[in-house]
């Protein structure tokens, strides 16, 4: 029996070696995060005086409380909320818009349908940074600086997601649309009652990716939010670094970093379960 398993399972020294490699790799990646966590639980003096502590201190609650309620420029709780609104807004907006545009491209015959598809596809090749100056101009003229609309709207269309949904819709059998037509469902009814529930797993997968994309936005919030109350957390960390002669409040900065990591991790862990369940009971 052992010989048969030998094909898939490494035994003895090989097994240990593989695990050792994995453990070293994980330790290597995890170490900086650990250091950040340790730094967020000790006092300022412990950090600046070498050697740096490697075990957590006793200031966990006071440092995190300080970060959440007052922070450096703005309370971290405010920045977390801003980031959350922005990330959720961007991901839900992107999903809604790309679902609808993919629906239009796949199920409706309108003039220049292919042209529109390729135009959408072309925008894949333009990153935010390339169009950032004109976008800024537009948003400023609309008076959307320092607002949630300003944070969300310019990032809300997604060619990637449109393309993904288009590919998925094309695998849905035509007979389903025809059966719905015979049943008397109009186009939007078909969309909401049949296409949308069938796209659940794709939506879940995309939500994870888009949420992290939205959460990690740095340049755009940095440009359009000048009011600390509107800062998002990822750019907010940068704003916490002192300019000039001030000293950096490292424990609070590190606590903020750790806090900034929590929501994306929760989203990945939470949605992964749904995502995998969706993959297992495939329904086509």
């Amino acid at each position: 029996m052992a010989e048969q398993n030998g094909m898939v399972e490494r035994r003895g020294a090989g097994l240990w070696l593989v695990h050792l490699g994995l453990i070293v790799g994980i330790a290597f990646i995890f170490f900086p995060i650990w250091l950040a966590f340790v730094a967020s639980t000790v006092e300022q003096q412990d950090i600046v005086r070498p050697p740096m502590p490697l075990l957590p201190g006793d200031q966990f609650f006071s440092n995190y409380a300080r970060a959440l309620t007052s922070g450096v420029n703005a309370p971290v709780s405010t920045m977390l909320l801003n980031s959350m609104i922005m990330a959720v807004g961007i991901s839900l907006g992107k999903i809604a818009i790309s679902l609808l545009s993919a629906f239009a491209i796949v199920y409706f015959r309108f003039p220049a349908r292919r042209l529109f598809f390729w135009l959408i596809f072309l925008t894949l090749m333009l990153p935010v940074e390339v169009r950032i100056v004109p976008t800024y101009e537009v948003i400023a003229n609309f008076g959307m600086l320092n607002s949630y609309q300003g944070l969300i709207l310019p990032l809300i269309a997604s060619a990637t997601a449109t393309f993904l949904f288009r590919q998925f819709f094309m695998t849905v059998p035509d007979e389903l649309a025809e059966a719905a037509r015979v049943d008397g469902a109009g186009p939007m009814r078909f969309f909401f009652d049949i296409l949308l529930p069938m796209s659940r797993t794709n939506i879940a997968a995309l939500f994870v990716i888009l949420f992290i994309y939205g959460w990690n936005q740095y340049l755009w919030p940095l440009l359009i939010t000048t009011d600390p109350e509107m800062n998002t957390i990822v750019m907010g960390i940068k704003q916490m670094f002192p300019s000039g002669d001030d000293t950096a409040d490292w424990p609070v900065i590190m606590a903020t970093s750790i806090l900034a990591m929590v929501p994306p991790v929760l989203v990945v862990v939470g949605m992964q379960r749904l995502f995998i369940r969706g993959l297992v009971d495939s329904e086509k």
């Binding site: 007979e175 719905a180 015979v182 049943d183």
Partner: protein
Amino acid sequence: MATLTLNNVKKSFGKTDVIHGISINVADGEFIVIVGPSGCGKSTLLRMVAGLETTTSGDIQIDGRRVNDQEPMDRDIAMVFQNYALYPHMSVFDNMAYGLKIARTPRAEIEERVAHAAKLLQLETYLQRKPRELSGGQRQRVAMGRAIVRKPSVFLFDEPLSNLDAKLRVQMRLEIKALQRELGVTALYVTHDQVEAMTMADRMVVMNGGIADQIGEPLEVYANPATEFVAGFIGSPPTNFLSAEILGQSGDAKIGVRPEHTRLSDSGSLKARAAYSEALGAETLVHLKCADGTQFTVRQDAASMIPQEGTEVGLDWDPANEMRFDSSGRRC
């Protein structure tokens, strides 16, 4: 319950004509089977009646109403698709109830109608299951149930049995026919399987290249095929065709004789060499080759003599069973 009338119905895709004018009057409660090889336009014709394809010219009337420009749901039809087209994320109940929900039927009535259909189709214990948890035959029944609950004037079936295995196909064939009788609904049924056509149809339409070659009762079509194509398509194994020449007659006509009407006998006028035979148990199909290379099949009872491969035998038949076709394939 309704009549269905097609009046010189035509369909073109761009410049390609796929249906060249078909007319038929379907009586109330009649079961019409449209049969033909793939690409003959039979599915397109059905989809035109359903309203899933536009009609290029001609009229389609259901119960005397012209429905050419109506949406499928307004035509009072129900359709069963080849791959069933069940909504994968909905339970069997919801699949059947979906059309009624859209039509804003009261909840109590929906439940009653679905329960009735489920009872007819023996699906009562499966109502809360998802389609993927059902077998092929059960999915087929759900698709039928979805059609039944709408109480349509006309049932449309698009090769509904072609995804089932042979045994189930025979069983469902009987069930569909019995159900249609019981409900008394006019039905249009498309298939490429001539056995389904023969067994289910009140009348059948044999289509060939966008034309209805013959419309008639199955046995009538079998006994009196209007064209060479119909004679070759209906009946299994197919009709044997011989040139007039080989029978010592003049003209360029073709003579058709069915395998079951032919006898092997030494006195037969036509000589042929046995090529190979297929024993099916109850009967044996003997394939022969005539002097001019024409293939000829004879159906022999299991008890009869089966010639050895390579031996020459005579073929004989009652002249009354001869079918004569002119050079254009028409009966003459």
